[in-house]
């Protein structure tokens, strides 16, 4: 293994992120090749976390662009502060400025609202730009982003061209609610994050929730493994695991029993049908199948 990759893995572990070779290798290549990294995976497996940890490790800012349906270039790049402009016009009505002067004044830096993409390219140090849930944005917006990623410069007609001194490190995440365009995929490195295996989940719980002993962490991980094998409508992710572990820790639990699971089930299962199915299952077989190693 390359020293750099081991270093990244160590740094990420230090930053409280339990990582493995695929994640570390992808991050390493994204940094050295200076390419965007597209991360896909189920909800709650820690996709967004990669960007946060990367920013912490690199000691730079994290700039987040949360995508939603209808997100357009203005909301992502920049807007003029219209309210402020209007006030300014009103206040300077008596000043006998010419139209040209007035215009020049209100379309200047103090009236500019920098949205995440513009912020990302006007930083002193290369920041980490997190484009979260790209799959929620429209296809037109995807195309617009490709344009930005290619040049890392933006032209604002009233001010001029802003070019990034240091192009940001880009992380895109997607839940696959929509298939992303091939053009975007091919410009990115790709990483699929799956649900963690047993050992990794135990490590995650122990790392993130100090009040949990080794035995309980193991039981939690086994339990989650069994739950994910059930055909649930909302499969719990790592986020749910951690919520639950936190809840159990605050109850000073040191092992799982039926009553405890019943009380805290809401941390893990978020769908009433799933709850019903789980309860039916437990009534039938007890908790043991959920805590034993399966083949």
């Amino acid at each position: 293994m390359r020293d750099e990759i081991r270093k990244i893995q160590e740094l990420m572990e230090d930053a409280q992120y339990v990582t493995d070779a695929p994640v570390a290798t992808s991050v390493h290549l994204a940094l050295t090749l200076a390419k965007p990294l597209l991360i896909e995976g189920h909800a709650g497996v820690g996709k967004t976390e990669v960007a946060k940890v990367m920013a912490r490790v690199l000691g730079t800012n994290l700039i987040r662009l949360q995508c939603y349906e209808g997100l357009d270039a203005a909301a992502a790049l920049y807007e003029w502060n219209y309210q402020k402009q209007l006030l300014h016009i009103k206040l300077s009505e008596q000043s006998r400025q010419s139209v040209g002067e007035a215009e020049h004044e209100i379309f200047s830096e103090p009236f500019l609202l920098r949205r995440p993409l513009l912020q990302a390219i006007s930083q002193e140090r290369a920041p980490v730009l997190l484009v979260d849930e790209v799959d929620r944005s429209d296809e037109e917006f995807e195309a617009f982003m490709l344009e930005i990623f290619a040049e890392w410069q933006v032209t604002i007609p009233e001010i001029g061209t802003v070019k990034a001194a240091h192009p940001p490190h880009v992380i895109l995440t997607s839940n696959r609610t929509r298939e992303l365009s091939d053009a975007l995929r091919r410009r990115c490195l790709y990483l699929w994050i799956d649900y963690p295996d047993f050992d990794k989940e135990v490590r995650i719980v122990e790392r993130k929730v100090p009040g949990v002993n080794h035995r309980l962490a193991g039981e939690i991980a086994r339990f989650m493994e069994a739950l994910r094998r059930m055909r649930l409508a909302k499969v719990p992710g790592v986020a749910e695991t951690l919520d639950w572990a936190q809840a159990l820790a605050s109850l000073h639990a040191d092992h799982l029993d039926e009553a405890l699971v019943a009380e805290t089930l809401g941390c893990v299962l978020k769908d009433s049908d799933d709850m019903k199915r789980f309860r039916a299952e437990v009534n039938k077989t007890g908790l043991t199948p959920f805590l034993s190693v399966s083949s």
Binding site: S26, L29, L33, E40, L86, E179, R186, W192
Partner: protein, 379 residues
């Protein structure tokens, strides 16, 4: 020297990947070569992860990539020197050998390239023998056409759909409300006035309706499924998105396949995908849909199920899974071609369980029925 040979090896590896259906671009190849500079070549696992990050862009492609990687990059003893961890297969001297070997490998990998090359020879016959009477065609059940008529009827289906698409997309609705004031444009328009007189408005962009199709391809349903798919895909410019699944005993997402390859070929393939054993499991298939693609359905989605309702599973499963879909979808439609037969009554257990949960129950058994269906695909 090592660098150069490694470079050509990567190029040839990319060639292998392409043959197995992975869309690898030139940019990705150069990135892969650059990536190797930053990886420990003695660590096979690391090289695998690195190349995968660069060359694979969707999870479905990973199995094919894994197999290609295993065949292409062989381990070699450390003593050899040069590239300790990696060795590409024999160089260009064996070029003619690779061509043959490529074919062999392809077979060994057992990957079914979805019709890599189009059957270019098959020119469609232009005449419409025996089916010139359109009106008669419109009312004829799809299953009663002979095999050689089918192609023509397919073409007619597409024609009708395209015409409908044009008509629907030209239709504009009058704006009822004025929407929000658009400050950006208002200010621009009133720059010279000092006061805002001429207000500009903007409206929320109207989202198009999305379709999710769940098509039964077991037994006699396959033919109807193909007509429905053909019809709706020709209509698709009207919709925000069309997601397509086929099912018999289990569910398969075919959206991507339909997008990429020669369409007719894929439709023909649908028949081959079909699983003959065990009958239709509609409830199970819907459950799989709910489990694996829950986020495809929202209030702006119409979910269409095409099936005759012959479910070999439990009707309770069908009912509860359909209920789950109904709770989230804008509308649920069930198309049952048997409905075209005047004496048909929906008495199968599956159909009886599903009916109360369905917003529209239609036949879709002939062209006229498809055309009237198009009118109902709005929310």
């Amino acid at each position: 020297m090592a660098v150069r040979s490694l470079g050509t090896a990567v190029v040839r590896f990319a060639g292998l990947l392409r043959r197995e259906g992975l869309p690898v671009t030139v940019l990705q190849v150069t990135d892969a070569v650059r990536a190797l500079d930053h990886l420990d070549l003695a660590d096979r696992g690391e090289v695998y992860l690195g190349l995968r990050a660069v060359l694979v862009s969707r999870p479905e492609d990973v199995p094919a990539f894994d197999q290609c990687f295993a065949t292409f990059w062989r381990l070699v003893a450390d003593e050899e020197g040069g590239l300790p961890g990696l060795l590409a297969p024999p160089g260009p001297s064996a070029e003619d050998g690779t061509a043959a070997g490529g074919g062999e490998k392809r077979e060994a990998l057992g990957l079914d390239a979805w019709g890599g090359e189009d059957e270019s020879g098959t020119e469609e016959p232009l005449g419409v023998p025996g089916v010139s009477d359109r009106e008669a065609l419109m009312g004829q059940d799809f299953s009663t056409f002979t095999a050689d008529q089918l192609d023509d009827v397919f073409r007619l289906t597409v024609q009708i759909a395209r015409r409908l698409a044009r008509r629907i997309s030209r239709r504009r609705r009058p704006v009822r409300r004025r929407g929000r004031v658009d400050l950006r444009r208002t200010l621009r328009a009133n720059l010279t006035r000092g006061d805002l007189i001429d207000l500009r408005y903007r409206q929320r962009k109207r989202r198009k309706v999305r379709l999710v199709l769940l098509c039964d391809v077991s037994g006699s349903m396959d033919l109807y499924s193909r007509f429905l798919l053909q019809f709706l895909f020709a209509l698709q410019s009207v919709f925000g998105r069309v997601e397509t699944f086929t099912f018999s005993t289990r569910l398969t997402r075919v959206t991507e396949h339909l997008k990429q390859r020669s369409y007719r070929q894929v439709l023909r393939r649908l028949t081959e995908v079909r699983d003959w054993s065990g009958g239709t499991r509609i409830g199970e298939s819907l459950a799989q849909f709910n489990r694996e693609w829950p986020s495809l359905v929202d209030r702006r989605t119409i979910v269409i199920v095409l099936s005759d309702g012959w479910d070999t599973g439990e009707p309770e499963v069908l009912a509860s899974e359909l209920m789950r879909i109904k709770r989230r979808a804008g509308r649920v439609m069930w198309l049952n071609p048997l409905l075209g037969n005047p004496s048909y009554e929906p008495l199968t257990r599956g159909m009886a369980a599903a009916l109360p949960l369905v917003d529209h129950f239609e036949a879709a058994h002939n062209l006229a029925a498809l055309r009237s269906l198009a009118g109902k695909l709005t929310l």
